[in-house]
């Protein structure tokens, strides 16, 4: 979708509601838990970690009150959470859990195992960094898991988080890949927003119960999974994974389109605003910083926005298509709320990889909002001026 500025504003003004939905005021974490419930997950292993904790608290309450027919288990660590998720998914259950920062880092080993056991687990990760110790909004944790083989979506709003979890199960179960839906700590996780919660039967129509394929682990049809794979077979598994992961971008667009037909809210791998042959600077964003940039666009008609909803696998085709209308002197600037110990952040790395040999623009990278620092509209404007000055390609904005 490429919206013009006026379309975006009009859409917001005219939004009256959606059929077969209830409007609720929900914090992002409760929207995530509501989504898991609506997806009728059967197994929830859990371990507390700020700022994710209220997701699993809410799920434990739903199970205790029999609002959700699932087995909920308080595990001994995130490593065990993901290992239990793996076991239940191997036996065919629809599994959900949530974690954050150190928890995701601790589970890293199991993330690889889940992806390459081809298990369609969906989780929410509430992004926070590692050391120096910090619990606030930052995407270093999930972006550091880019190579584990998990599909990654980043939600701009609580509504998008809820909607994306539902779509994530379709994608996960179609391709047998795990999906991580990421939301921002506190700015989303602990902030109340208007959320349209779909009715259960609407979700049931869109997402039927998980189908059993016959490859589930049980005591009746013996099978072995996970044994040592010798070199002559190993790459076959990788090749099959590769062919499936290459379908994620198209499937994301297809599922997002179908979701729109059922729920009235359409989604795609990316969203662009005001990307035309007159746009001078394109902001590349994920999560809630996107909304801040949207606000600044009204004051700066020379600015466009490329919001990445799907980040892994990187939606290369969508990005190239969207940016191909830009004038040759346009600049790209990525806003990085992640620090991966390299000169550049994750988003600009991915952008350069996607555009190489296809499109050639000036590329700027901005570290902004690390460890939860606020990124107000003024900071976005400062970035605009910095990019126009063209003094440095990697910018630390608001550095104290």
């Amino acid at each position: 979708m490429n919206n013009t500025l006026n379309e975006t504003i009009e859409k917001e003004k005219t939004q009256k509601g959606f059929a077969r939905h209830t409007q609720k005021i929900l914090k992002g974490n409760y929207a995530a838990a509501e989504a898991a419930k609506l997806c009728r997950v059967g197994f929830v292993p859990a371990y507390p970690i700020t700022p994710q904790t209220t997701i699993v608290e809410e799920l434990s309450r739903m199970v205790a009150n029999k609002e959700l027919d699932a087995h909920y288990v308080n595990m001994d660590s995130e490593h065990s959470v993901f290992a239990a998720a793996m076991g239940a998914a191997l036996a065919g259950e629809r599994v959900f859990t949530a974690t954050s920062g150190q928890g995701l880092f601790y589970a890293h080993e199991v993330l690889h195992a889940i992806a390459h056991f081809r298990l369609p687990i969906v989780i929410c990760n509430v992004g926070r960094p590692s050391i120096p110790w910090n619990i606030w909004s930052d995407q270093t944790d999930s972006l550091a898991q880019r190579d584990t083989g998990w599909v990654q979506f980043y939600g701009e709003s609580s509504q998008e988080v809820l909607d994306t979890v539902i779509q994530a199960y379709i994608i996960a179960e179609r391709l047998n890949l795990p999906v991580m839906v990421v939301l921002d700590a506190f700015y989303q996780s602990h902030t109340s927003e208007n959320v349209w919660a779909p009715e259960q039967d609407l979700v049931d129509e869109f997402l039927p119960p998980k189908k059993f394929t016959g490859s589930e682990i049980d005591g009746i049809n013996p099978k072995a999974v996970g044994g040592l794979v010798p070199p002559e077979h190993y790459e076959t598994f990788n090749y099959r994974y590769w062919t499936d992961v290459n379908q994620v971008e198209d499937l994301t667009n297809e599922v997002g389109e179908n979701f729109g037909k059922s729920f009235g809210r359409k989604y795609s791998a990316i969203e662009t605003v005001n990307i035309t042959d007159k746009t001078k600077i394109v902001f590349v964003t994920i999560s809630s910083i996107t909304s801040t940039v949207r606000g600044v666009l009204n004051k700066h008609p020379e600015i466009g926005l490329l919001k990445l909803r799907l980040v892994k696998p990187f939606p290369k085709a969508s990005v190239i298509k969207a940016l191909s209308v830009l004038p040759p002197d346009a600049s790209i600037v990525a806003v990085e709320r992640n620090f991966l110990g390299d000169s550049e952040g994750a988003l600009i790395q991915e952008m350069k990889r996607a555009l190489y040999g296809e499109l050639n623009f000036k590329m700027f990278d901005v570290y902004a909002g690390l460890g939860g620092k606020d990124v107000p509209p003024l900071t976005i404007e400062k970035i605009i001026y910095k990019v126009k000055e063209d003094a440095e390609k990697i910018i630390w904005i608001d550095l104290e």
Binding site: G42, F43, P45, A70, H71, V73, N74, M75, D76, S77, H79, S80, V81, A83, A84, A85, M86, G87, A88, A89, L90, A91, G92, E93, V95, E109, V110, A113, I217, D218, G219, I220, N221, P222, K223, A224, V225, G226, G227, L228, V229, P230, H233
Partner: protein, 302 residues
């Protein structure tokens, strides 16, 4: 005509061609275990010798399902499988962890404690051969005092006592935990049957002979593991909800040397370099542990 004797295993639940070393405990252990549990069983295997014995991809030695999982979290993987099967109404399927001592005493310890504390309906079987044998005989916290390994070479042999896993597991107040010896096969089979009947978290700790790791003759595996029980190096006992029961009282008072001398991993203890100090310490440790067991058993009757 009635046969002169009956085989203990009437129907094998493992295929031939298992990849264990000669004289390895795993082969015998799993044959008896699977013959009693039956085919409706899911085995969860963390990294261990048994990962290989059970068969690399695409093989399966067992007539049952096998899930090979990450080293540190077999009880957690088993938890997920158990809950999924329960949710699907498959409560009669056994979920069994088969782990070595590294996966139990060390890297999987937290996950084990978690599953035991939660009372997961899982049978946990640990083949304790006293070191990381699959990676080539490195020290674990189950390695006995006095043994050499490739990471505790002589003269820096292991000079700390092995972790008291039974004591720790029993302290979780689980419904059943027992030690088993492959030289006392009827006792072992009785304990498998007992463990199978009970619901909740159950653990069997088996003294696992390992000729390459213990530097023993494969043909002597059973004889040496019997000596471990006779010398009280490895007492046979059960614990049900903190109630102890000793299953075997050795008839003769045999010194630990009888068992240790047959294992190359202890041979430096016999060269006179420490005037028999280490052997004396081991003997004292064994007697003190046995006396403690007697007292725990006594307490259990009160």
């Amino acid at each position: 005509m009635e046969p002169a004797f009956k085989f203990l295993i009437e129907e094998e639940k493992v295929f031939s061609g298992g990849l264990s070393c000669r004289g390895c405990g795993w082969a015998l252990l799993v044959r008896h275990l699977s013959s009693i549990l039956g085919e409706n069983t899911v085995y969860v295997v963390p990294a261990s010798c048994f990962s290989i014995i059970a068969g690399p991809y695409p093989l399966n030695e067992l007539k049952g399902s096998v899930v090979h999982t990450v080293f540190a979290a077999a009880p957690a993987t088993a938890t997920g499988i158990r809950h999924a099967l329960d949710k699907q109404g498959k409560r009669d399927t056994n979920v069994v962890v088969l782990a070595g001592d590294g996966g139990t005493f060390d890297i999987g310890f937290q996950s084990l404690s978690g599953a035991a504390s939660r009372g997961e309906n899982i049978l946990y079987v640990c083949n304790n051969n006293g070191a990381y044998m699959n990676t080539g005989i490195q020290t674990s916290t189950a390695t006995p005092y006095g043994a050499v390994t490739t990471t505790n070479p002589n003269p820096e042999y292991k000079k700390t006592w092995p972790k008291d896993l039974m004591g720790i597991v029993a302290a979780h107040n689980i419904p059943y935990a027992a030690t088993c010896s492959l030289a006392f096969i009827e006792d072992y089979r009785m304990k498998i049957k007992r463990a199978k009947e009970i619901e909740g978290f159950r653990l069997l700790l088996i003294d696992g002979p390992c000729p390459p790791g213990h530097k023993t003759e494969p043909s002597q595996s059973i004889a040496i593991t019997r000596l471990a029980v006779e010398t009280k190096l490895f007492p046979l006992f059960e614990v049900e909800h903190l109630k102890y029961r000793i299953n075997y009282f050795p008839k003769e008072k045999l010194p630990v040397e009888k068992c240790l001398k047959k294992q190359g991993r202890f041979k430096h203890l016999f060269n006179g370099s420490d005037n028999g100090r280490a052997l004396k310490d081991i003997q004292e440790h064994v007697e003190s542990y046995w006396n403690r067991l007697l007292k725990l058993e006594q307490l259990s009757h009160e």
